[in-house]
């Protein structure tokens, strides 16, 4: 009775048959071996994950520059960037109307828009898509806010599974200090103030990030994260990242078409 309407592996398999869901994200825990599953599109998806201040955005930026300069067919996308729900999210945040559930749903709607109109068409069109944060951000952050992980895993089932997920892991103090040093004031939801962890924003932020990092850690194996040591120097880390991308993604597919030889 309590299972009424709950997702299960059978419905999951059924999901892979629908045209818009090339592969499912996996049920709770991400079991289902999607990393081995054959991709049904010619593109590839590389994502970075990690708490704020872990260095992931810097590293993805450098990866993007490397591929851009090389002329590869790439597209860069960010979490929470669609104009569609931006005004709603902003209104909800300003007036503090968001609950863990509506916060999560709004971000899912935003992601769905980007997924259907950007990510999936580009993957089908043979692009290498780079994503700064992906559904794992929702899994980590929304579970930290109290959402059910079973519910969340179902919610994002329409999302294509990444070819590589880099998880940047830095010690909490290092990451948190980077953020706090660079920001005059932490925002309400950003600091997890809705969770009533602490009245002090910096302290609340630290506790919230600790919870999120804990959630990321639980996904390392089930979701096949490539763990990156955020304490390494930027340059060494970037070299490592490029090596892994080269090894795991056939970059030749995204290389610029060679120009016909110029007539002599």
């Amino acid at each position: 009775m309590a299972n009424d309407g709950m997702p299960n592996t059978q419905t999951l398999r059924a999901a892979t048959r629908t045209a818009r869901a090339p592969r499912a994200m996996g049920s709770s825990g991400g079991v289902g071996g999607f990393a081995e599953a054959r991709r049904k599109y010619p593109g590839a998806l590389v994502v970075v994950e990690g708490i704020d201040g872990s260095g992931k955005s810097t590293q993805l930026y450098l990866l993007k520059r490397w591929l851009e300069i090389g002329g590869y067919r790439i597209h860069f996308t960010e979490w929470n960037s669609s104009p569609l729900v931006k005004s709603t999210t902003k209104r909800g945040k300003q007036r503090r109307l968001l609950t863990p559930t509506t916060f999560s749903l709004l971000h899912a709607a935003d992601f769905a828009d980007r997924c259907e109109r950007q990510i999936l068409p580009l993957l089908h069109g043979g692009y290498l898509v780079l994503a700064d944060r992906y559904v794992y951000t929702a899994f980590a952050r929304d579970v930290a806010r109290g959402c059910s992980s079973v519910w969340l895993r179902n919610l994002y089932r329409f999302a294509p599974v990444p070819d590589i997920t880099f998880y940047f892991r830095a010690p909490l103090d290092v990451a948190v200090d980077r953020i706090i040093a660079g920001r005059p004031r932490l925002k309400f939801y950003e600091a997890g103030m809705d969770l009533n962890l602490s009245l002090d924003r910096a302290e609340s932020f630290r506790m919230f990030q600790a919870r999120i990092q804990e959630q990321y850690d639980t996904m390392v194996e089930s979701d096949k994260f490539v763990v990156m040591d955020g304490t390494m120097t930027v340059n060494r880390l970037q070299k490592l990242m490029r090596e892994i991308v080269q090894k795991r993604v056939d970059l030749g597919r995204f290389a610029p078409k060679r120009q016909a030889e110029a007539p002599v």
Partner: protein
Amino acid sequence: MKRGGSHHAGRSGAKRAKRVAASSSADGSGSAAALAAHFHGIPLPGVKTEELGGSLIVVEGTDGSGRSTQISLLTEWLESEGFAVQTMGLRRSFLVAKDIDTLLEENAITRMTLTLMYATDFFDQLEHRILPALHSDFIVLADRYFYTLIARAAVRGIERGYLHGLYAMALRPDLTFWLDVSPEAAFEREFRKSHAISYWESGRDMSLSNDLFQSFIRYQARVRKEFRGFSARHSFIEVNGENSIPSVNLQLRKRIAAHLGIPRTRYRPSAALAHLWR
């Protein structure tokens, strides 16, 4: 709230609380399971169901099934019987209702995004309108519930298992009425009401037919089939919506009166609502 065991006896105010206590002691352990039983499988974060009183009564049905008329009449009847009433419906949340209107007008939205925007609208109302009302012992009359949202998304090809999972945290209604009408009757009523058929009501985004009437009929027939599908699963009380308004209203009043322990079901609409009584 039929699934928990104790069947309706009088006001449901204390019932939810009792049921939580009963089932958790029966389980020995899990209050989580008991909590989940109030929802469709997964408890809503941060909700204490033992504090919920009142009743959630849902009226479902396709466009033109007479739902809104019945809700108006029921509201007046319940208020005359001394019950405080709160209503809810689709696209009425403070958070996203306007945004959905805009998106629909612009027709610039994909079905997955629309599905999730409607879900946001639903849960915002559940958390900010329904639950507070139930906390205050109100009767909540829902002019459609998430069943319509599942039906609409399912006929557009989104997998049913996904959709049921999405709404697994929706509160279980105490009573759900389904006003069933044939697509032809629905068309006639809608056309009489507004002298036109809307883009979405006729499912024109689905390219079923270039003929508006055909498109409407086919679309509504598919939605109706979805409703048939969850009628048994969600204990729908089926009501023939093609019967006269007074006769449908009497059927609804009888069931609600039994549920709330109202001894009599006599009712005549006031002058303000007399025009609905035909």
